[in-house]
């Protein structure tokens, strides 16, 4: 009997009687990482990585009942052994390894292969079945090394400063923002939006070293911001606040920026293809390394990616999930929806 099944509440392990990243409230939710499409309000207990705990408490509620594991640590629930391995996606992101009577299944949540300098790098885990995302599961998505992308961002910022423009980078508060801060830190001061500053506090408190940033307050002057780097979450994108800065130019950091159509669709002034998800070669590399006989493809280009795997001789199935909407705006909608349905 398979170790996991896909139910309308989410990925379910019957033998252990728990869910992984469920989207409806359950008793016991094993949580891969703190993004809103993977962890939701209303579960009785949560099990997540040590670093994810303060993040979800801050983002969802201080009252959550949370148990934690370090990478490589394990606990057993109803005879099912649960352990965590680094997914390299964002701080605290974990692949969940389940073992029961010699059968091993790994649910990877979201992952990327490249070491981003701040997240514990991805580690492949041998297993029989593997649950993979495919956010960028098309061969046109191949990332450049992050050094090259960051060099591009730094050049863009310097040009802007010289031309009296204010550089505003749009990035998810959790994950992308910290990656930018870590890799852009230097002589140019970095100013961050409240929501990012709040998360940074929690992350630093949990023991992660983050370079110094400045929280934007009503007292911060336009002049200061013009000479620095401003990082704000996607929800701020079309805000009046940005429009009122001195000659603002926006840059979006996302894997989608690889493709012109998306760049133009986003109507930003600059696009940088920088992603916390694996690119096509990364997905292939990860899946090959697991040695899995069966792959379940969750969010992204599920149809194309699973067809390709099948053609390559790796049995793969497309599954419908509610992962894949890490937008800060969507986040609010989802929470509201969930409260309604309680």
């Amino acid at each position: 009997m398979a170790l996991i099944e896909f139910t309308k509440r989410g990925i379910y392990c019957k033998q252990g009687n728990f869910y992984v990243d469920p989207w409806w409230p359950v008793d016991y939710a094993v949580t891969t990482h703190g993004h809103s499409d993977h962890v939701r309000f209303g579960n009785k207990y949560y099990l997540c990585h040590t670093l994810t705990k303060p993040i979800i408490k801050r983002r969802i509620s201080e009252d959550l009942n949370v148990e934690t594991l370090e990478y490589g640590e394990s606990i057993t629930r109803n005879g099912v052994n649960i352990s965590f391995f680094p997914a390299g996606h964002i701080i605290g992101s974990a692949q969940v390894r389940l073992e029961y009577k010699g059968e091993i299944c790994v649910i990877s949540g979201d992952y990327k292969i490249e070491d981003d300098g701040i997240t514990t790098p991805f580690e492949p885990v041998k297993c029989h079945s593997f649950v993979s995302e495919s956010t960028f599961g098309l061969p046109v998505y191949k990332w450049q090394k992050q050094e090259i992308v960051f060099k591009g961002i730094k050049n863009w910022v310097n040009d802007n400063i010289n031309q009296q423009k204010t550089s505003v980078l749009i990035a998810y508060s959790l994950g992308k923002a910290q990656r930018l801060i870590k890799n852009l830190a230097g002589d140019t001061p970095i100013y961050v939006h409240n929501s990012i500053a709040n998360l940074n506090e929690v992350i630093i408190e949990a023991g992660v070293h983050l370079p110094k940033t400045i929280r934007i307050t009503p007292e911060t002057t336009k002049d200061e911001l013009q000479k620095g780097i401003v990082i704000v979450p996607p929800a701020m994108r079309d805000s009046r606040w940005i429009k009122n800065l001195s000659h603002p130019v926006t840059g979006i950091c996302s894997g989608w920026m690889q493709v012109r159509a998306h760049r133009r669709w986003q109507s930003a002034d600059a696009g940088f293809a920088l992603s916390d998800h694996a690119d096509w070669p990364g997905l292939m590399e990860a899946i090959t390394a697991t040695g899995a006989e069966k792959v379940y493809v969750t969010h992204g280009f599920t149809a194309a990616f699973s067809r390709f795997l099948n053609d390559e001789g790796i049995e793969a199935a497309e599954v419908l999930t509610r992962f894949g909407q890490e937008d800060d705006e969507e986040n609010k909608v989802d929470l509201a929806e969930q409260n309604e349905n309680k």
């Binding site: 046109v140 159509a261 669709w265």
Partner: protein, 529 residues
């Protein structure tokens, strides 16, 4: 090529006209002269020699990357552009190249007539020394268009700014006939070629839509009112014994309209007329769909000439006695026009009639009758106005009648192309026919980005069936569709087709059982016949 690649990127990313012009000026300041000529050629739709079919490019890319054909197709569907898909799929280049744009174009030109092996070697070698963005441009040179939101006007403004020459003069020069392989940048922008070229047309003067009350325009006596027609805007040019017909797409269409060739004997040399080509029978203007039978054809049969006879409605005279006449006021131009061809009554060339009205109210009433003569409304032109290049606010207005509308429900959705490749933006709509829904129109989104995202989420959650890229969705979302006309159609199941359908707004307040019926549309059709 690097400089050009950077220009394209800047143009694609900036949303503001001024930024685009600044990027162009910057480019024209520093780029190689031969490259500049090519950039003007490419942006105005002149294509370099293309000795390689795009199917071959695709085939070679598939071969060297060992991508299955279907996966290439999926990638293409996501990226929305063939040249870009290939550029992204290829492995990173192992070398770099400082070759200039015009060198690549010339080398491509030299491939003409070579065998496929030689061509393939050349292409693979090129791909291996170009970065992704350069590769994309290289592929575009062979197989695509540079549609990047740079209008001729914008290009001309940038050139005028950079060269300090007169923009109207530059517009003439680049709209004329010239060969980018031969002309120099200096010759091109100074218009050395146009004086010896008999064919060149003038830039069309275009009107803005009137959004205010016409009373605000002042005394009606200062205005000339004409019907607004929906045909093909064109110019008839007669110089040095030669006749040319241009369409608004800046294409020469002389051969497509033999009915107008008699003008070579009527017009004196040095005359340019602005007007509209319309399908007309027994003095009645027919619908645009009739005219359509005459468009984009290499040869015209006797039957097509009989079925869709055309008339050239003359609006204006731009050149007279070989002199640029555009600075004369409209009243003088109109008078000259009447003197020149006022007696051509029974021929396929007639002067667009003036609507005589003594008050705006009277004109407003007449405007309501536009549809009965297949007109789209009224054109208002100030009698003292010059003939401007392009669009200019104030002197010419189009006062269109409101479109027809129908409430319909969305039943299919399909992903868009280009910048909307990842969103469901092309929708098919249906009205009720008894118990059934019957398709009446397909429309691209006229929605805001936010609404598109919402519809997109709805489609993702409510797709009933997949047919390739098309999703059948639950008939739930109601939209108000505007359209300009309605015609019988045997090709459509509904037996009728809407002209220029577009989404006016999302009717979130309406349920699917409140939409219009096919009977409603049939009645409308009857009333317009």
């Amino acid at each position: 090529m690097k400089r050009f690649a950077k220009l394209i990127q800047q143009l694609e990313l900036s949303n503001k006209t001024n930024d685009k012009i600044a990027a162009l000026v910057d480019y024209f300041n520093y780029a190689d002269d031969k490259d500049k000529v090519w950039v003007i050629a490419l942006f105005t739709g002149k294509k370099p020699k293309r000795p390689i079919k795009s199917a071959l490019l695709k085939y070679w890319a598939i071969e060297i990357t060992q991508t299955p054909e279907w996966l290439f197709a999926e990638s293409y569907a996501n990226v929305g552009d063939l040249s870009e898909t290939i550029a992204l799929l290829l492995p990173p280049a192992e070398n770099t190249s400082d070759f200039q744009l015009h060198k690549w174009i010339e080398d491509l030109h030299d491939l003409e007539g070579k065998d496929d092996e030689t061509k393939k070697d050349f292409i693979l070698n090129a791909w291996n020394k170009l970065e992704t963005q350069e590769r994309f441009i290289f592929n575009k040179l062979i197989s695509g268009n540079f549609r990047i939101g740079v209008s001729n006007k914008m290009l001309v403004n940038a050139l005028a700014k950079q060269s300090s020459l007169d923009s109207a003069q530059i517009m003439h020069s680049i709209m004329g006939k010239w060969n980018p392989y031969e002309i120099t940048f200096h010759e091109l922008i100074n218009g050395i070629h146009v004086n010896t070229d008999n064919s060149w047309p003038y830039p069309f003067c275009l009107a803005y839509a009137l959004e205010q009350e016409p009373e605000k325009l002042g005394d009606i006596a200062e205005w000339q009112a004409e019907w607004k027609w929906d045909g093909i805007r064109g110019q008839i040019v007669k110089r040095n014994g030669e006749l040319f017909i241009w369409s608004r797409g800046e294409e020469l269409v002389t051969e497509q309209f033999p009915e107008l060739h008699f003008m070579i004997d009527v017009l004196p040399d040095g005359v340019v007329l602005d007007g509209e080509i319309l399908a007309v029978q027994d003095k009645q203007v027919l619908s645009f769909s009739t005219l359509q039978q005459r468009l984009n054809r290499k040869t015209i049969s006797k039957k097509q000439l009989d079925d869709a006879p055309i008339v050239f409605f003359v609006y204006d005279i731009l050149e007279y006695e070989a002199q640029d006449f555009r600075e004369e006021p409209l009243s003088i131009r109109r008078h000259t026009l009447e003197q020149l061809i006022g007696d051509l009554d029974e021929s396929p060339v007639m002067i667009s009639p003036i609507i005589n009205c003594s008050s705006w109210e009277e004109l407003a009433d007449l405007r309501q009758t536009s549809r009965s003569i297949n007109s789209e409304g009224i054109m208002l032109k100030k009698l003292s106005s010059h003939y401007h290049s392009g669009r200019k606010r104030g002197d010419w207005w189009k006062w269109k009648i409101n479109p027809y509308t129908v409430d319909a429900v969305m039943i299919y959705a399909q992903k868009g192309s280009g910048r909307r490749a990842n969103f469901f933006t092309d929708y098919t709509f249906a009205v009720r026919d008894g118990e059934n829904l019957v398709t009446i129109a397909k429309a691209y989104s006229g929605l805001t980005d936010k609404e598109i995202k919402e519809v997109n989420a709805f489609v993702n959650r409510n797709a009933i069936e997949k047919f390739g890229p098309v999703r059948t969705v639950k008939p739930e979302l109601v939209f108000e569709i505007a359209f300009e006309g309605i015609a019988e159609s045997k090709r459509h199941k509904a037996g009728l087709a809407l002209r220029f359908p577009r989404i006016l707004r999302w009717r979130k307040d309406k349920k699917a059982d409140e939409i219009n019926t096919l009977e409603d549309l049939r009645q409308l059709l009857q009333s317009t016949l």
